[in-house]
């Protein structure tokens, strides 16, 4: 369970990590701890899986890459087999089972729209199941918002 101090640290480090020679020292000063202690806390949050990553969050499309969300209606009897076929492709970044007739939802990341489509076509050919593509047409917001984290920090007894 995350302590209130750890939640505060995660909220504080959400963005704006300084682009200076010793950024951890500067953040440590803001937080009133030592550079060593801050680095140690971050290592432990990452090691425990409380943070998935610490660093730049890229919008890969701006570097020419493409993400495409796609979905399939996979028969229950074939679910594990098809999941293995889909997950076996390195371009598949996430894959979730969801509660719907379209029960498998995954994201393909590729260097271009054409390359992404080729992966989707390949999955359809491998599995014999129609792959519906849901490329994003417009983005309205991306990212968990911090007020939720801050609010959560005030209710540590509700953690888990």
């Amino acid at each position: 369970m995350l302590s209130p101090e750890e939640l505060h640290l995660i909220a504080h480090l959400h963005g704006g990590f300084p682009l200076v020679d010793r950024p951890f020292a500067e953040v440590a000063r803001q937080l009133g701890c030592s550079e060593d202690m801050l680095l140690e806390r971050l290592r432990s949050l990452l090691a425990r899986g409380d943070l998935t990553r610490f660093g730049p969050l890229f919008q890969i499309e701006r570097a020419g890459g493409r993400f495409v969300l796609a979905a399939m209606a996979v028969p229950e009897a074939r679910f594990d087999e098809v999941a293995a076929q889909v997950n076996g492709r390195p371009e598949v970044a996430h894959n979730y089972r969801r509660s719907h007739r379209l029960n498998m939802w995954f994201v393909v990341a590729a260097d271009s729209a054409e390359a992404a489509q080729a992966v989707l076509d390949g999955i359809a050919a491998d599995t014999g199941i129609e792959v519906l593509a849901f490329p994003k047409e417009k983005e309205f917001f991306v990212e968990l918002k911090l007020p939720i984290v801050a609010d959560y920090g005030r209710k540590p007894h509700e953690a888990r």
């Binding site: 943070l51 997950n87 309205f140």
Partner: protein, 160 residues
């Protein structure tokens, strides 16, 4: 290296995270043959251009207690979806919000909003908030809960 190649090399070197050392930019630069200062300048430019959304901590939703994850999907009038999408994306409970294509007749939904709660009741309350905001512009909606993570590697720019 051309500037675009430097950016791609920097993305590959940092997309899994910054090294947790006192001088992280210098450490990244040492691998790529750049000075720490050059790394900071490129990162600052990528932040300005939007190629980097932010630099900081990426929390694991599940470890923050958000174990109910619902993909809410909405069939919204085409003439109003962009204006309403901005308002839905601004709600504190919504982490990702996109307009995506319909696949008629089975899939009438064109607005996707990811919701995160400590349980399904919370997610459903959030969906009611969205339904109230959309009003008569929305013809129908559904919530697809993730019931298993089949793969999660994070979205990566592939190596050369």
């Amino acid at each position: 290296m051309k500037p675009a190649d430097i950016d791609r090399a920097l993305i590959r070197a940092t997309q899994s995270g910054l090294p947790l050392v006192p001088r992280p930019y210098e450490a990244v630069g040492a691998v790529l043959g750049l000075s720490g200062e050059e790394v900071r300048e490129r990162l600052a430019r990528m932040l300005d251009s939007g190629l980097i959304r932010r630099i900081g901590a990426v929390p694991n939703h599940y470890r923050l207690g958000f174990t109910a994850n619902g993909m809410s999907v909405w069939d919204v009038d085409d003439a109003q979806v962009d204006a309403l999408g901005v308002r839905v994306g601004a709600l504190p409970c919504v982490s990702h919000c996109y307009r995506r294509p319909r696949h008629l007749p089975d899939w009438p939904y064109n607005l996707f909003a990811m919701l995160h709660g400590r349980n399904r009741d919370e997610v459903e309350a959030q969906a009611r908030e969205i339904a109230a905001l959309l009003g008569e512009a929305c013809r129908s909606h559904d919530i697809l809960y993730s019931t298993a993570i089949l793969k999660k590697t994070g979205v990566r720019l592939a190596g050369d």
